[in-house]
Symmetry: D2
Subunit: 339 residues, 4 copies
Amino acid sequence: MIIVMKAGAAKKDRDEVIKRIKELGYKPHVIHGTTRDVIGAVGDERGKLVLQSIESMHGVENVVPILKPYKLASKEVKFEPSVIPVTSSLAVGGKRLVVMAGPCSVESEAQILESAKAVKEAGATVLRGGAFKPRTSPYSFQGLEEDGLKLLAKARDLTGLPVVTEVVNPETADLVAEYADILQIGARNSQNFALLKKVGQLKKPVLLKRGMSMTIQEFLMSAEYIMSEGNQAVILCERGIRTFETATRNTLDLSAIPVLKEKTHLPVIADPSHGTGDYHYVAAMSCAAVAAGADGLIIEVHPDPERASSDGPQSLKPKKFASLMERLRKISQAMDRDL
Amino acid sequence: MIIVMKAGAAKKDRDEVIKRIKELGYKPHVIHGTTRDVIGAVGDERGKLVLQSIESMHGVENVVPILKPYKLASKEVKFEPSVIPVTSSLAVGGKRLVVMAGPCSVESEAQILESAKAVKEAGATVLRGGAFKPRTSPYSFQGLEEDGLKLLAKARDLTGLPVVTEVVNPETADLVAEYADILQIGARNSQNFALLKKVGQLKKPVLLKRGMSMTIQEFLMSAEYIMSEGNQAVILCERGIRTFETATRNTLDLSAIPVLKEKTHLPVIADPSHGTGDYHYVAAMSCAAVAAGADGLIIEVHPDPERASSDGPQSLKPKKFASLMERLRKISQAMDRDL
Amino acid sequence: MIIVMKAGAAKKDRDEVIKRIKELGYKPHVIHGTTRDVIGAVGDERGKLVLQSIESMHGVENVVPILKPYKLASKEVKFEPSVIPVTSSLAVGGKRLVVMAGPCSVESEAQILESAKAVKEAGATVLRGGAFKPRTSPYSFQGLEEDGLKLLAKARDLTGLPVVTEVVNPETADLVAEYADILQIGARNSQNFALLKKVGQLKKPVLLKRGMSMTIQEFLMSAEYIMSEGNQAVILCERGIRTFETATRNTLDLSAIPVLKEKTHLPVIADPSHGTGDYHYVAAMSCAAVAAGADGLIIEVHPDPERASSDGPQSLKPKKFASLMERLRKISQAMDRDL
Amino acid sequence: MIIVMKAGAAKKDRDEVIKRIKELGYKPHVIHGTTRDVIGAVGDERGKLVLQSIESMHGVENVVPILKPYKLASKEVKFEPSVIPVTSSLAVGGKRLVVMAGPCSVESEAQILESAKAVKEAGATVLRGGAFKPRTSPYSFQGLEEDGLKLLAKARDLTGLPVVTEVVNPETADLVAEYADILQIGARNSQNFALLKKVGQLKKPVLLKRGMSMTIQEFLMSAEYIMSEGNQAVILCERGIRTFETATRNTLDLSAIPVLKEKTHLPVIADPSHGTGDYHYVAAMSCAAVAAGADGLIIEVHPDPERASSDGPQSLKPKKFASLMERLRKISQAMDRDL
């Protein structure tokens, strides 16, 4: 950590800072500048954010962290990209892209089975569908809960597609893990640390969505929560951040893909459905995500979007999804990836 | 709800929309414009967000909601400001301002008792202190948990100050409610709907913090979650939103105070400590919040910020807090409020 | 425009609004809702933003515009994509993608000639380079001004590449237009209306960058300023918006590409160099932009980024640029475009 | 400046960086950390942003600036608050607050004279009014231009109030300076460097508005542009930043006031009219700005907001303005200021 002293700070203040750095177990190292001093605190600063409190000391202008606060998620700890096995025949993060597709919510047996067959046929490799739904309104449809999980299992039996579905509460996490192949943590729960710890103790891959106002560093810290509990199988998902722009529901931050690829070994996929909130833009952003280096996609597909209980406006019809898959195959080839 | 048709949409498309509006139980009402038609769907649209799915229909440009999606929190349901009783002698939302003060985390018996005495003496009316701490790093201090709750109770016995502390997990909510007088929901859990429902079932006032990227409408929807479970005692807290500006940790959105006062009967307080992240700016923003019409403040005060386990840089020393209280008394008078 | 009355607004208030709508030359149309009335004002609302002032009237909750405020830039006026000719052999917006490349600033004859040869060889079709530089610091290098323009002209003579360079002041716009083939309006001047009007009167294509906090609608309004002065040759450029994320200098909003393609006939290119501010991410975002449907790219290339007067950290070396062009050719094919 | 090397960077890379630091005229100072080296570059880094280009060098992770890039605006250069004289009897930045009030646009002689008399009577000390209007739509009212300036001069003759009005183009700046007492630079021109340089050469105080997505540091750099041309009479104005929140037109960042007071000697005022975009919230935010330590306010007042050519929804009627002034007098007293 670097402590920047104020211009003209007293020697006494500097000495107090040096003393405090030593107390905390670091080695101080002073650089005398032309207008002010800068003090390096040498040592592993991770997990010791208490150094930040030096900012309260007299004569200190500010404190600049040097090391990244995450370890297990970091490329410094593991350089090679992680490949996360889901089933015996499917893994996320290798040469082959993953495409997770299906409706926002499981609504009925007919709806989920029809969706599953359609996305399977078009080439998707994972079925998505929500049974527990975090909705901004208490008056909106909240999901079929355990009945929804059972229907997802039925769809898996029928198609062979593994299932990804959301976990919203530590209390029901074990129940969801009985049915699901991949546990999804939604954007609104991305800093629900009790929930992150809970899924860190389970033995299932986790699809972690980026929060709406989460920096990339905080995103990796949330992955670190899961990993520090013992579960290394974390798949990151960029799903759009909140900005001033209202033409799209969120702003899909595709630059997060190369940035994450530089900082972490974990696989990264993109969610163009939530990222744009409008089915018109889903195909373009799916192609763009793959060209940006994503390891896969999660896309909302609904047989009858006009009658969907949730997220109708951003869902593709099966036919549009199938033609998107055609285009994605060409882009994958151009990127030396398989689909 | 208003459905805006595309310029030149076919009559067939318009008829389909009209049919769908009727199916959903609304009364359609067409306005023929110069370049396009606009269709009103008359009826109570709250709780029926499914109307939004009309946006997927052919020929529809977009769907504009007219009614606010919250009811219980709305001024249309209850016009008079709510006054939330905390103890027999303290209420939030009346003429008298509330000042909640104390350290970010409960660290030790000495620390919390010293803090409690200091803030009481300066005129604070509620003691704050975290026992369960949601931290962005799994390696940071996570709070003293139940031991922390016991120390808070001891500080209450000593000073008579009621206690506000954070709830982070539905599983430990009952435990926290045994000790606390006010249950705090933190910014990162402001859309943790499982937790909101849980505190909605408890019989204690809830201090609900605004999420970092939460619109005012979403903030009121989170209050609605608590209220729709039966607990009407919700105190809203503006604590800064995330913006591009990095000179402060967050941007304290004081305009949220008059906006909320216009839309809801619930009391509104401000948190200038998290809002700015820097003790230098806490006094100015405390005064500003009261002048903007806040019903109170929650302020971090620590006897030794340079050694705090968390949030040192934004904590006031007791002496500075006492002098701030002096200034706040003058501002309160200017605003025809008591302190 | 739709005027939403307050719940329970008096009949008198509604009558006043109706009267005012008629005064302004519109036809009022009332929808009686269950809790409130909504009044449509039928007529062409563009250019008559004065309707917005009805929001000040008693009993009015808010005013919702229905029509987009731009005309000439709109697809409703011209449905087919515009193809903007630059030279006899180059146009922007057709099947063939444009790649503009070169250094941020023109620094010396050797530097700009070397850059021009390198980008030409790799396949770029336009040379970029700044002669007038808008810098956030008055103490930074401000460009070679007219000498820079002359060097750009020399580089054009040598390579045959047309030149794009920035205009920063109405007073020097004619001078720049003597030398440049495309006039660039930078992000910081994207709402400098005096400058927009000036380039609207010139007979050269304009490359209009999106402002850092500009909505897509405002972006199209700035294009409308240029077009309404008579110059229809506007090329739009997404170059990143300002968000809370600091891992990149800006957040490149690639979803702006499909959104713009839906709303306007003007061509759209992307600037991954300013969009990310870091050369490590430029290749990934270039590929992504083409896959999102961009009509081209503008990329910073410098023979010696470590010694660049400006924007070194985001400039590609010629060799990296050449290998990026290889990849882009593959992606273009996958998108049925030429490069 | 601090150069952070990558973990495990080669000695050769470090040596290259050291060599380059020396070449640029700085003194390198290496701190050997546990996992990586950090190199301080000692010397005055202001005006030499070229150090930033070291970020392109092999083995470098990032470059952290230590010094602020502004000088003349900085408190390090001038510690005492600047008091800017406007007329023989009015100055901005002293104990007495300034209140600038009047309509958004000058619309007619009757309108501006009536406005001037009303705001004078209520206690305003400067008259505001726009003659050249930067509007987002080319089809909106663009101001009365020189005729508007003449009407402002007439209103000044009648009331004795000095006049603040906007400059939008270097070409017409001299003309505006003939009539105005204070030259306003609007938010959209806050990084129009050609215009900043021009008003820096004039001998009139400048009211500089913060741009919609401008950091506080960039705001001070724009002030520095004006000051470095010789004009030290700069009054800063916080007028709201662009965020995700749509309940207000902008988010008035009142924390900018204490932050600016800490960093600069220049006076700071607030604009609650543009900051909120809604007259309902103007009074609350005016009071809050004064309590946050602002040196004054600029407020839109219009005798007939429902018929205003621009900004009707955010303008106060004279009666409401007068009652706000009553409240502001009380708050000023509580803050030990005069009004």
